[in-house]
Symmetry: D2
Subunit: 359 residues, 4 copies
Amino acid sequence: MTPRPVPPNPARRRIPVAVLGATGAAGQGFVRLLAEHPWFELAAVAVPDHHADQSYGEAVRWRETTPLPDAIARRSLGRCDPFDVPIAFSALDDAMAGPIEEAFARAGTLVVTTASAHRMNPVVPLVMAEVNPDHVDLLTRQRQERGWRGGIVAIPNCAAAGLVMALAPLHRAFGVERVFVTTMQAVSGAGYPGVASLDILGNVIPFIGNEEEKLERETRKLLGEYASGVAREARIVVSAHANRVPVEDGHTASVSVGLSRRATPADAERVVAAYRPAAAVAGLLSTPERPIELERRPDRPQPIRDRDRGLGMTVTVGRMRACPLLDLRFTVLSHNRIRGAAGGAIQLGELLVAQGIVA
Amino acid sequence: MTPRPVPPNPARRRIPVAVLGATGAAGQGFVRLLAEHPWFELAAVAVPDHHADQSYGEAVRWRETTPLPDAIARRSLGRCDPFDVPIAFSALDDAMAGPIEEAFARAGTLVVTTASAHRMNPVVPLVMAEVNPDHVDLLTRQRQERGWRGGIVAIPNCAAAGLVMALAPLHRAFGVERVFVTTMQAVSGAGYPGVASLDILGNVIPFIGNEEEKLERETRKLLGEYASGVAREARIVVSAHANRVPVEDGHTASVSVGLSRRATPADAERVVAAYRPAAAVAGLLSTPERPIELERRPDRPQPIRDRDRGLGMTVTVGRMRACPLLDLRFTVLSHNRIRGAAGGAIQLGELLVAQGIVA
Amino acid sequence: MTPRPVPPNPARRRIPVAVLGATGAAGQGFVRLLAEHPWFELAAVAVPDHHADQSYGEAVRWRETTPLPDAIARRSLGRCDPFDVPIAFSALDDAMAGPIEEAFARAGTLVVTTASAHRMNPVVPLVMAEVNPDHVDLLTRQRQERGWRGGIVAIPNCAAAGLVMALAPLHRAFGVERVFVTTMQAVSGAGYPGVASLDILGNVIPFIGNEEEKLERETRKLLGEYASGVAREARIVVSAHANRVPVEDGHTASVSVGLSRRATPADAERVVAAYRPAAAVAGLLSTPERPIELERRPDRPQPIRDRDRGLGMTVTVGRMRACPLLDLRFTVLSHNRIRGAAGGAIQLGELLVAQGIVA
Amino acid sequence: MTPRPVPPNPARRRIPVAVLGATGAAGQGFVRLLAEHPWFELAAVAVPDHHADQSYGEAVRWRETTPLPDAIARRSLGRCDPFDVPIAFSALDDAMAGPIEEAFARAGTLVVTTASAHRMNPVVPLVMAEVNPDHVDLLTRQRQERGWRGGIVAIPNCAAAGLVMALAPLHRAFGVERVFVTTMQAVSGAGYPGVASLDILGNVIPFIGNEEEKLERETRKLLGEYASGVAREARIVVSAHANRVPVEDGHTASVSVGLSRRATPADAERVVAAYRPAAAVAGLLSTPERPIELERRPDRPQPIRDRDRGLGMTVTVGRMRACPLLDLRFTVLSHNRIRGAAGGAIQLGELLVAQGIVA
């Protein structure tokens, strides 16, 4: 594979960024991806429960497979009090994210967050770069209403990210009206220590707190239309069943959809296979050449074999077939820690830079 | 727990039975359960690919956790040529089951089979003892049409068994019209050696050959009505998504159902909790006190914690809640090697004895 | 299998017992096994971090597969302050066990503990009923020295239990002098939540804190000789490598031993196969008919197939063969939550009753 | 990480190579690594059981995570009859490798094999490039004795590869005399379909056919000295216990060693940390910058976190500590499908090119 040429940096310099909640599982994902990011410079790592005088390397229990760069290990670990930084990537726990992110936004930082605290707030853009980049414009209203210089933009829940990426081209082509989705989610979605091994070895847990609600609501917001300061939710009815399975990384979903315009499985496969990101989004560093790949082998996609496509940013759609109840049935696989977390958020940060919102 | 009193044997003597395909994973399940069965006497163990002069103990790679009884280990292994035995339990592979089972039926044996070869034949009763015991009467027409003294009766596919057990009381109370079902099936459902470990460790396989079709058709046949020699299929539209997960035993299913009569989740829970088998079926040795148990803990049922209820014959229903698309959503768990295979078939054999069809 | 006749209760009445640390994983094991114990009456369940006015059923997250009996669920949860009870089974964490167990002992209770706090104390008997029942006599000296009416007796570490059970007959017959042991331990040995799934799915962790030291020291104490108030450690050099593997229950160990008297693998197999518990110990309710079983199939014992032998109290020894470095090589499997925890402790409690130490 | 500069190709052109047994799990590893190899050109893919007129893409069930290059997929699949190719990498099953490899050697091809058929033959070099590159010279005698123009060179068993890489610097520094090794081996070591999921999910299998014998013999041959046409085995006594665990890739081993010269754990750590390949071997394309890495974190190495170091060619040594019975104890981890198979064999092929044996 010839590597894709690196898109040029729209800003004139590497933009300093911070990672909030930098020692957790999601935070480590940010640190790994930002360590050598050509557009961003990892300027600060912070945690809410700060122990003074510790370096990042001392505080973190590093779990990524690539080694922690020495320069980052030696960096001193900051507190999540606002400081002067253009962008902060937030991997904070849902429980504490709310006020911390607001404080940063007030102080002038643009917070790109994986936390759910503000996702459904009507003035907070909930964005996947390929799906609804225009929603970023909600920031204008957010700043006006709140009187903030910075702001908050959110990426979706890790399971919603894969689902919506797969639905987006179908929605545009045929109008998605109804969605039945059963997820089989990886344990890494619960962070670390997260799911106890005694609960999941050889087992299925048919419940993930609040996950079904997030899947149902966020799908509507992401696929909704934006016009003059308002993001209207799409009129899609979603029924979600969320399950945890003994998989390390990669959320799999069995999906049936009802459409407003007739489409055969072959029609749908054509649309999915033809999908390409818009030029503005294709130019972002983290956008994979193909955000969606169509798989025709009958027993794919599978987490261990397909999650790393496009460096974890590509969502795989397979088993496209007719549904006896709705119109189409298929399987979706996405990498929850990359497309559904740090990767998706950094891509969104890049979008903000490319749009000139951060410079 | 006080053990349930053993129901009396309706026949005057232990009825000799054979197990066809006795060395495979399913066959071993039969051998284990029949080894000390008070109504049946394990008279013969047979395989299609017979190597002369081998004992069962020499031929089998015994995988059950209880030890293989010496008396059975020493028994000589027969060929699947018809011999004089009132009942044969067939654990034959789908590929070879068809003609062998017919030969036995012609020769006067009542074959109770876990194979799919004859399941959808309109004169073959497809029966779960609690759900549609009256369908057994199809045997009369089968014998007339074929001129057989014996006959063939079938149990459903292992995933269909759990689903239909859960649907049965809801169907009776509210009329099930539409079913979405996503299964997360255990590897033991594929027999031995079955699923390669390299394919399933830490993985999900979103495909099981013919499984979705079986789930869709067999549900209709099992829940259909029987009258004067005809089993009419129920008018239920089923959309199935079948997945394999790294679980040893126990099929989990996420289910949404649409009903012909309104029902709240509380209504449905009442119906499920109140379900008891009919008296005639409750008197069978293999019928558990509760063929269905309702679980109210939010994260249950789970394979490792709930599959062994009722010695593997009890199906657990949990997470009953409203469905945004249809009426109800819930999770079903059943033990695929017991309720969905040997246990269900032996229970059906007991039903044939209790009904006086075998004596 | 004909069930073994229940040994008669040496005491005239069911003896009231308490479980300390009753809500944890180990504590639940005690509650399950004591719920219907013919000699003991579960009189109290207690935890160190007591929340007033909660019942056991409210406080526990019950994880055993058999349901929690209602009568026990309704029982109010006590604090670990000494109260009047003849025997307390302690499943307390090592960190808090020390002072609590001493307080109970001082107050007159005989504490049978799975915690490591006092195990290596020279006046605390460290006992497996089959291996060194005479060590119980150390209690006399313990009471004298401490001025206690009650006392503390301990069972070994869960990995040491299986190893020592296997070594005991070999030591008696041939004199064990050197032991190499590499363990592959189940996650349940770490309690709940214990090992994070992200750390162990598809993985091996080559480290368990303090486990190697316990294996080395406790082996020597258990196989040591007792005479006139002193338990002299056996002169055995043990080198242990402890690993965690993705197994739910059952510790497997690869073992090589050097002997003081020559023995072929066949000699060793004979000794292991012939092993029977002494009459006094065979009469205990929890002693299995065969505390050790010899396995001759080349790929056994295995956790999922052999851990439940003898209701989890039987240790399986297999793959007996010559060792190029020492004398013998073999594999040992034992159920860590039963033989290595609640089962072994309750058996020891029964021994105290049978010896008349508690009445 | 700055990528290592690519060592220059010692030959003037890319050397054509074949892969024998190209469709199996090991064969696919070769195809993946050779697809873009700068020194080698994948000229032919062959299988013993040839179905005429099939392309590689049609015949293979591709299981690597990187996609099968189209150019290779279209290539027609050959038979394992000798044809004119300088080097053939053999991933043939042990059972059929013997005569096929000899036929190629006779016909002039240099066969680099992962199969065990000829490994212990005294005129077949058994080589790891870093450990005993001088053994390659045995080829001279092999050709003389057999009258072959080509020849056979072998890499060790996948578990022996990791062990010997770790032992090599210790042996040179301190003289290894005795080795106790317990392996916990990944399922991929058994090929595909290999280990049935029902045998290994949540389980340990304490047996791998012939593996212990291979570990014991091959260690002696690899660490032996070569002089004037004879590879003398090292006088090392090895006691191996081989176990299979539910890990996808990466063999872990618990090792104790006895030395001829005293060494503390700190001495051993120094030697391991200081280890660098000899210049001639460092210049090979597949030689990692550090063939051995020392790990000081107490719970490492672990398969999921450390197997991919050095693109799978680096062996990790950790937990170095004193052994109560011998001198040192430690843990070794190596990637069985790379260092122990295709990666090690291709590195050996590179060595043959660098030494001018193939040009």
